[in-house]
Symmetry: C2
Subunit: 335 residues, 2 copies
């Protein structure tokens, strides 16, 4: 700091004194303003303060501060259907002119006729066919471009907002709060790894190398001497349920100390995190707010949360009640 010349210092002292007083007494800005000051926020803050305080007993060195987040239903919404399914359906419509046979073949016929219920009636097999038809057969760079174009333009029907804005304001704050406290934040999602990577850095501040997700196989080829990675119509890895700890080990190689999910698909990830040797934080987001978002849990087809609620109660995990704990849900909600 540059020393203040004596004359100026003397003249300005009442002002400087007032400023110094304000700096000492004003509470630090709340890093989690969209969170109600209830038990969920208190549990999160207490955990972060303990693991970051040297000599606290629960101190964790920065390199081991790994926090993992499910994406669908935890960082952004997942109703009325997974947003990646909307992307796939939009791709089917865009590709239809080159596939006249789809007018007669399910599940494509149903998608083209706008009957999504019929399209999904074929269950996992139908979904797999849709994914392979729309997510494979091109170079990785080309697929990245398709996702980037879609995320820039497609809009959610209920909110009439881009899907990328249908993210949870409290979770954006939480990601920033954890990073400000030396955590590395990771996505561990059942969604496609390459469907997330093109936009999560801008939206969540999470770089592509910190994304774990489901994947199809790729193959390295030289095409006219030019190297390409071609996306193949074969499942490589399903990053859901018991696959989540496997994906965490594969990509991170270190057990997280904090995990955030919203469905039974996240249960194994929360169990794996909570069973670590030191202090840990396992959090479920519970969708209880039909007014501002959606209310669903045990009976839902998308994001079912049943076993997870029972285990959270039995083990004393933190359950975020969206209605009670979140003052705002989306960034576009009024303050």
């Amino acid at each position: 700091m540059r020393a203040v010349p004596r004359s100026v210092r003397r003249a300005a002292s009442p002002l400087l004194g007032a400023l110094a007083l304000a700096a000492c007494t004003a509470p630090p800005a709340d890093p989690l303003p969209a969170w109600d000051d209830g038990p969920a926020k208190q549990a999160i803050v207490a955990f972060v303060e303990t693991v970051t305080r040297p000599g606290s007993g629960g101190f964790v060195p920065p390199a081991e501060r790994i926090a993992v987040f499910d994406n669908d239903g935890t960082l952004w919404a997942e109703q009325p259907i997974y947003f990646q399914a909307v992307f796939a359906f939009d791709r089917v419509r865009a590709m239809a002119p080159d596939h006249p046979e789809w007018k007669r073949t399910q599940p494509f016929k149903a998608i083209l006729e706008g009957d999504l219920e019929a399209a999904l009636a074929g269950g996992e097999q139908a979904l797999l066919e849709i994914v392979m038809a729309t997510h494979a057969g091109m170079a990785t760079d080309a697929f990245e471009g398709l996702v980037a174009d879609w995320i820039a333009t497609a809009r959610h029907p209920r909110f009439d907002r881009p899907y990328r804005e249908c993210v949870y304001q409290p979770m954006l704050e939480l990601l920033g709060y954890l990073r400000a406290n030396g955590f590395q934040t990771w996505i561990v999602s059942g969604g496609g790894i390459e469907f997330m990577r093109p936009w999560v850095e801008e939206v969540y501040g999470i770089p592509p190398q910190q994304v774990v997700g489901s994947s199809i196989r790729t193959r390295f080829e030289l095409r006219d001497g030019e190297p390409v990675l071609v996306r193949l119509p074969e499942i490589d890895f399903i990053d859901d349920k018991e696959g989540k700890p496997v994906g965490i080990q594969r990509h991170i190689g270190r057990r997280p100390i904090a995990a955030f999910g919203n469905s039974d698909g996240d249960l194994a990830m929360l169990q794996w995190t909570a069973a670590g040797p030191g202090l840990s934080l396992a959090v479920y987001v519970h969708h209880t707010d039909a007014e501002r978002e959606w209310a669903y849990d045990r009976a839902s087809h998308v994001g079912r949360l049943a076993k997870g609620l029972d285990e959270a109660a039995a083990r004393g995990w933190t359950v975020v009640d969206m209605t009670r704990d979140w003052k705002r849900v989306f960034p576009f909600d009024p303050r």
Copy 2:
């Protein structure tokens, strides 16, 4: 800077002037002292200075400064056999009391009799059997402990030093130089990912989540309510040759701008890196120094470098001549 009081400033001015002059004229400390000031070092430094200089035309934002390194033969030695093979053989000897049948079954019989040539005569199939017998069947945590114990104690027969000291001093300097310039440094090795993770952070400053390698499958299980990841005797991924760009995309999701290898197993990784849209650096380490290390390339069984040498010449990639370009090879070499 704190302003120097006028009286002091005047009194001290000759001394301060001399110090200021020294600060302006002394060259900055060389970050790569084990490198000879030849064309290889010059190419590396010129690349780093260009991609880090805003407005240079070749500027690359820090988030995209990804550098990938092969491990065996690039960061540490790989002769007379891959160090991970020594670990596997040591495991066979340690496990032998529980496997009396190994006294009669190849390739285990040959290992127990100390005849490594015979042990490796069975080729890939024999190696696979050795890896599955020694690397699978336990929890991930237990395997990590076995590797940590081995790396702390096992010694290289030629140098009578721990294997973890048989790393290349110039490459350690290069890793630090790149990180000081905002690069993220990654290992992309044909070796086992979980064989590297327990020690690479301490030895190379590379955290476990920045390691890409070959892997076997794991399965999440609850054993008496306790979650474990069990290592299964099934290949998951071979991170070699055309697998290296696939592994890079899987783990990083972004094309590197710098790649370092030493064998034909690294060729696809260098091609993928060099074919990126901007400036890139592709470097081969050429083992030419039989005196301080080993001399081998086109005819070697370990770390064969033939196609790669031809392609490096054709494309003008940087080839490090160990004899000429490295003033020291190992940290334990005299300065």
